[in-house]
């Protein structure tokens, strides 16, 4: 007992030392003078909490870990899974009509990250190629739309396929120099690639608008009718066509629906891909490149296909991002964005699509809810990643291998 009190006391003192400069010293301004007022209350309260916690920690541990009931997800048949999928899609389609504008807006952001996460999942999760410059392809997609609008006056629906193709081409180009690289070396080269794209966007001032980027990018049209308060010369807006009055909420919901469709397509395609020969080859490449070669699989083609297809998804996401924001600038495509997308893939469980979707929701929604702690966002983010890697390195939803019933 005595030793426990001693540890608790020690922990409390340490806590006090840490708390004091953070919470314990309040800066107050009275007129011109700024003074530091120690808040002894705060410090002692914090120390007391730590002290008590350490005293009862052993009992707490017993209490928490005693019921070792293992949680197992209910096993679903194919039918059940299909029904659940449809139910989820139906909910995703209906809820925005009963929800606030900001919630729908955040959900749209989540869907963009789902797209990006699923794209990167192909490169990192399936093919095992650590790509730290994925945001580069996202930028290519976004700027493809922005530039096509700015220089050619083309709309979203023209730009969307072009953005995917452009990003795919960039993915293919990046694929070549990194064919021989693996692991750390690959990560560094891709990191550099992402930075090159960003620096190009900043420095090609005449073409891309430099650090200011390009603004005034129009939202996607509905079958050629713009969704805006006022239409440009000689065009009818969507709400005029329908005889509605203009409502900003409609635009937000429309964007959400588009994002949902794009994300579902991405999900469907990547889900199919992984069950196809090319998907199996990606996974085989991740497991053992030499064995792949010994069986006649060409690693060059397999790697390039992973890079290209992953980048294409990012390109679609980028074009949509540009349309949603209405403005693109290089600031949106920094390394931290790459890190976030990678975190989504790792947190979700490499190669697991459901996991990626969950992680995208978690990593987008939680910071929005915890707006009050905005300064601690990266701190919490880092902490969550560390804890995940310690306790659940396989991710939220580890991949389950498909089971196939063989015919006799």
């Amino acid at each position: 007992m005595f030793s426990r009190v001693k540890t608790a006391l020690f922990a409390a003192i340490i806590a006090g030392v840490i708390i004091a400069p953070v919470f314990g010293l309040q800066i107050t301004r009275v007129g011109m003078a700024t003074t530091i007022v120690p808040e002894w209350n705060m410090i002692f309260r914090g120390m007391a909490i730590v002290f008590v916690f350490h005293l009862i920690r052993p009992y707490l541990a017993k209490f928490i870990f005693k019921p070792k009931a293992k949680f197992t997800a209910p096993v679903m048949g194919d039918k059940g899974r299909k029904a659940l999928t449809f139910l989820l899609i139906a909910i995703a389609l209906i809820w925005p009509f009963f929800s606030g504008r900001s919630q729908v807006d955040i959900a749209t952001l989540v869907l963009i990250y789902v797209m990006l996460g699923l794209g990167l999942n192909i490169v990192v999760g399936y093919a095992g190629l650590l790509d730290l410059g994925f945001v580069g392809f996202y930028a290519v997609g976004a700027y493809t739309y922005a530039l096509m609008y700015h220089w050619l006056g083309l709309g979203f629906w023209w730009a969307l396929p072009c953005a995917g193709i452009m990003a795919g081409i960039f993915g293919y180009i990046l694929g070549f120099p990194v064919l021989r690289l693996r692991g750390d070396y690959l990560a560094i080269v891709t990191l550099g690639f992402g930075e090159i794209i960003r620096l190009l966007l900043i420095n090609l001032y005449d073409f891309t608008g430099g650090p200011d980027g390009i603004s005034g990018i129009p939202k996607p049209t509905v079958f050629g009718f713009p969704m805006a308060r006022r239409a440009p010369e000689g065009e009818t807006t969507f709400h005029d066509l329908m005889g509605w009055s203009f409502n900003n909420q409609d635009v937000v919901i429309y964007l959400y629906m588009l994002a949902l469709v794009l994300a579902l397509i991405t999900l469907f395609v990547s889900n199919r891909l992984i069950r196809m020969p090319v998907g199996r080859a990606w996974e085989a490449l991740r497991e053992d490149e030499i064995a792949c070669r010994s069986l006649g699989l060409n690693p060059t083609g397999i790697k390039l296909s992973a890079f290209t297809i992953g980048a294409t998804f990012a390109g679609f996401g980028g074009a949509f991002f540009a349309a949603r924001q209405g403005i693109v600038n290089p600031e949106s495509f920094g390394f931290i964005e790459s890190a976030l997308i990678l975190a989504i893939v790792v947190l979700g469980g490499m190669g697991s699509q459901i996991g990626v979707i969950l992680a995208a929701i978690l990593l987008t929604v939680v910071p929005e809810i915890a707006r009050g702690f905005a300064e601690y966002r990266m701190l919490v983010f880092g902490l969550v990643m560390v804890l995940m890697m310690v306790w659940r390195p396989q991710g939220l939803m580890p991949v389950k291998r498909p089971t196939v019933e063989l015919k006799a």
Binding site: A281, E283, D288, S294, L295, K407
Partner: protein
């Protein structure tokens, strides 16, 4: 095996040098149709290096390798594999996180319909080719008694089963030459006997010539048609198993001089 049989693989004067080290020095041999040809020798004799040269993993410094009359030395390993020359590895190299079945499906990659679009839209041709691939996999799973493990992760199989799966994965590519690098290493006596039966079956029914590196002498002497003995990268003797066993140079290489 009669000398009149067709020559499938012809290795002549193969040399491999790593900097100052001559790992393989002038190895020549011929592999005939349906033949089991063993390469033996003490550790570090250069046997696996010979395999790596033939399989395209190393570019040989000198000499020539011909498969069915076509020169293959210096070709990339996946190209060589597609020409019908596949191998297993000394330390098993399975796709560990993939299931047993997936291992066998991946191996058929170069044989099946890999078009992106037919797969995305599940075209008829795609479904047929997938079904055929699964049927082929089922055949090999049955033959090697692996069917009950079809949906297990390959890395979780017992070692003996992993070795068997590796052979199945090679055979499913319809090879002409099967190169086995110490297939009996780590197997128990029963598994070794099974392996011998299996190799016999493969060459008889599946028309494959086997190139074998092995330390287990009872296996080598039991199934090989001819044996090449290597020491320090040099070939010492090539001959029938019984001849080789009596050869004083071979005994010297293995046991040292009196």
């Amino acid at each position: 095996m009669s000398q009149s049989a067709k020559t499938l693989l012809e290795v002549s004067n193969l040399t491999m040098r790593f900097g100052g080290l001559l790992a393989v020095d002038g190895v020549s041999f011929e592999l005939h149709d349906k033949e089991v040809f063993a390469i033996i020798g003490p550790n570090g004799a250069g046997k696996t290096t010979v395999f790596n040269c033939i399989g395209g993993f190393y570019r040989p410094t000198g000499g020539s390798i011909r498969l069915d009359g076509e020169s293959i030395e210096g070709k990339a390993s996946h190209v060589v594999a597609r020409k019908g020359l596949v191998r297993t590895f000394q330390n098993v190299r399975l796709f560990k996180q993939l299931t047993v079945l997936e291992n066998l499906l991946v191996a058929q990659h170069s044989l099946i319909n890999t078009s992106l679009f037919s797969g995305l839209f599940k075209s008829r041709a795609y479904r047929q080719s997938e079904e055929q691939a699964q049927a082929r996999a089922a055949h090999w799973l049955d033959l090697l008694h692996l069917r009950e493990f079809a949906n297990r992760e390959a890395g979780n199989l017992a070692y003996g089963l992993q070795r068997r799966l590796e052979i199945a994965r090679c055979m499913i590519t319809d090879p002409r030459v099967l190169m086995l690098d110490e297939p009996a290493a780590g197997l128990n006596p029963q598994e070794k006997r099974d392996l011998q039966v299996l190799i016999d079956l493969l060459r008889r029914d599946y028309n494959v010539a086997v190139l074998l590196i092995e330390h287990d002498m009872s296996l080598v002497m039991g199934i090989s048609d001819r044996v090449l003995v290597m020491e320090h990268g040099c070939p010492i003797v090539t001959g029938l198993p019984a001849e080789v066993q009596r050869d004083p140079r071979v005994i010297k290489a293995y046991l040292g001089e009196e």
